[in-house]
């Protein structure tokens, strides 16, 4: 199996336990994603802790229009997915896919952990899953 390319460069760190890269403003405030171009002036890349808590969630039950590039081509082979916001305490709240869970598993404030998952046959992307170790 060939390694999947990350969906974007510099979105997470290249280390055994990757971390999502946010940005730290001169004020100390953390923003996600790390800004690019002129907006990145005076912003320092800031790898986020891998643990957080569930802030909100929903399911995506229909196939989004472009620019969505998920697995499958048409509505027939579209697989609904979960997504939500995960709060990295004291840092920032990040929108993310949610994996290894069903809607019934999810509750406000539950512990979540960061992971990298296959997205389609070319790319990997980031997600959070319920943190079973907490």
């Amino acid at each position: 199996m060939t390694a999947l390319e990350p969906i974007a460069e510099d979105l997470w760190t290249d280390e055994p336990e990757p971390r999502l890269i946010a940005g730290q403003l001169p004020s100390g405030e953390i923003v996600f994603p790390m800004p690019v171009g002129d907006a990145a002036k005076d912003v320092t890349p800031y790898p986020l802790p891998r643990k957080g808590t569930l802030w909100s969630w929903t399911s995506q039950e229909f196939r989004p229009k472009t620019p969505y590039e998920g697995p499958g081509e048409g509505p027939q082979d579209f697989e609904p997915y979960l997504l939500g916001y995960v709060e990295i305490p004291g840092k920032v709240i990040v929108e993310t896919r949610i994996v290894d869970a069903t809607l019934d598993d999810l509750s406000l404030g539950m512990p979540m952990e960061f992971c990298i998952v296959p997205f389609n046959d070319r790319h990997s992307t980031f997600a959070f899953r319920p943190d079973k170790n907490s």
Partner: protein
């Protein structure tokens, strides 16, 4: 600043009209508004209007007449109509003009809106991975709100049930058949907790309002409704809006709360003085949250309000008397002005089967648009 009145209101039925372009539906509405005010097109001194997907509003002059009037195109997402109204109001309040037009129309392709990440200054991956949809934002916002404030799924259903019941009484509405609560609750899920019937759909339609100074209104002997206040506000720091890959851990302000406060202050009245309200109901959850964000109830009280029918046409505060976006659909450019149109109808006592009882004297409209702005208008009789 002097008082401004709405002396003419026109609408093209919302929904799908294959035989007319979006602009033609707007022109139809302008002609209705002119007839309502007893005016001819050359009387209009300035115009503000917009559409998100059906071309520039100022092209309307090709059909209405080349009178050389100043016609400004407005583009403020779902708040385009509210912003056009604010501009027209200012043109008269400032004494620059005596007669102004505010108009909006639209015609969208079927299916959910989709957005281009780049035009919002967002990275491509945000759209590629399927996280950039307005319907998701609404679901994520109400999901958290329900957990924090004890709102049940049944209450979401009750909002939609009321919308279709009210829509069945409005001749400009798209969905004209009541839908029972079981059908709404058991419909296919779109984004949990919102089912198919809890979302509005992109649609078509046009609205036009003619605004006048008090002097002009008296001169014409027109049936005017006073604009007590109008306010538009964009998002403050640390707010939670549509299309945000990251949000602040600090709880920030809300554009609706800011616009609402400004409108009440300017009008010199409070939420308890409002007799009828049109609140942005892009989906059921939005109507619920906007009841609190506009100051009509506290967070969580909506559960009881809906159970007791307080927002029904004959309730304490009728909300979305023409079925709102849920029953009328959402032509982006026209939507905010439909709310004001409905309030004009209600204050003039011309609501027919959906008329709010006891001669309502004050009416409130609120529209919210991407990427995070709100427009509020308070009308008085």
């Amino acid at each position: 600043m002097r008082d401004v009145y709405i002396i003419g209101a026109g609408i093209h039925p919302f929904g799908r009209t294959d035989s007319r372009s979006g602009r033609e539906q707007g022109v139809y509405a302008v002609r209705e508004a002119l007839a309502d005010a007893g005016l001819d097109w050359p009387d209009i001194e300035c115009a503000y209007g917009g559409s998100a997907a059906a071309g520039s509003a100022d092209v309307m002059v090709n059909e209405l007449g080349l009178t050389s009037l100043p016609f400004v195109n407005v583009a403020n997402g779902c708040a385009t109509g509210g912003s056009a109204l604010a501009s027209a109001q200012m043109a008269i309040a400032s004494e620059a003009y005596d007669l102004a037009l505010a108009t909006g129309f639209d015609k969208h392709p079927r299916g959910a809106f989709n957005a281009d990440p780049k035009s919002y200054g967002l990275p491509e991956w945000y759209g590629q991975t399927g996280m950039m949809l307005t319907t998701q934002f609404f679901a994520l916002k109400i999901q958290r709100y329900m957990q924090l404030h004890g709102i049940s799924r049944l209450t979401l259903g009750r909002v939609a049930e009321k919308a279709f019941r009210n829509g069945s009484l409005a001749d400009h509405a798209w969905r004209r058949s009541p839908i029972d609560i079981e059908t709404i609750m058991n419909a296919p899920m779109i984004n949990d907790p919102l089912t198919k019937y809890m979302f509005c759909s992109p649609a078509e339609g046009g609205v036009a309002l003619i605004l006048a100074s008090e002097k002009k209104m008296r001169e014409l002997g027109a049936d005017g409704v006073k604009i007590a206040s109008v306010a538009v506000r964009t998002r403050p720091p640390d707010s939670f809006e549509v299309f945000q890959a990251g949000i602040s851990v600090k709880e920030g302000g809300k554009p609706t709360v800011l616009a609402s406060k400004a409108a009440f202050e300017q009008a010199g009245i409070g939420p308890e003085d409002i007799d009828v309200a049109q609140l942005q109901d892009t989906e059921s959850g939005a109507e619920i949250m906007h009841m609190a964000e506009n100051g009509f109830c506290k967070d969580g009280e909506q559960e009881q309000w809906l159970a007791e029918g307080r927002t029904e046409i004959n309730g304490k505060l009728p909300v979305n008397t023409d079925g709102g976006c849920l029953a009328c659909g959402e032509p982006i450019g026209a939507s905010g002005l439909r709310q004001v149109y409905e309030n004009v109808v209600q204050l003039r006592g011309r609501g027919g089967e959906r008329q709010v009882p006891n001669n309502p004297k004050t009416a409130y409209s609120h529209v919210y648009g991407a990427p995070g702005l709100s427009g509020v208008a308070i009308l008085q009789r």
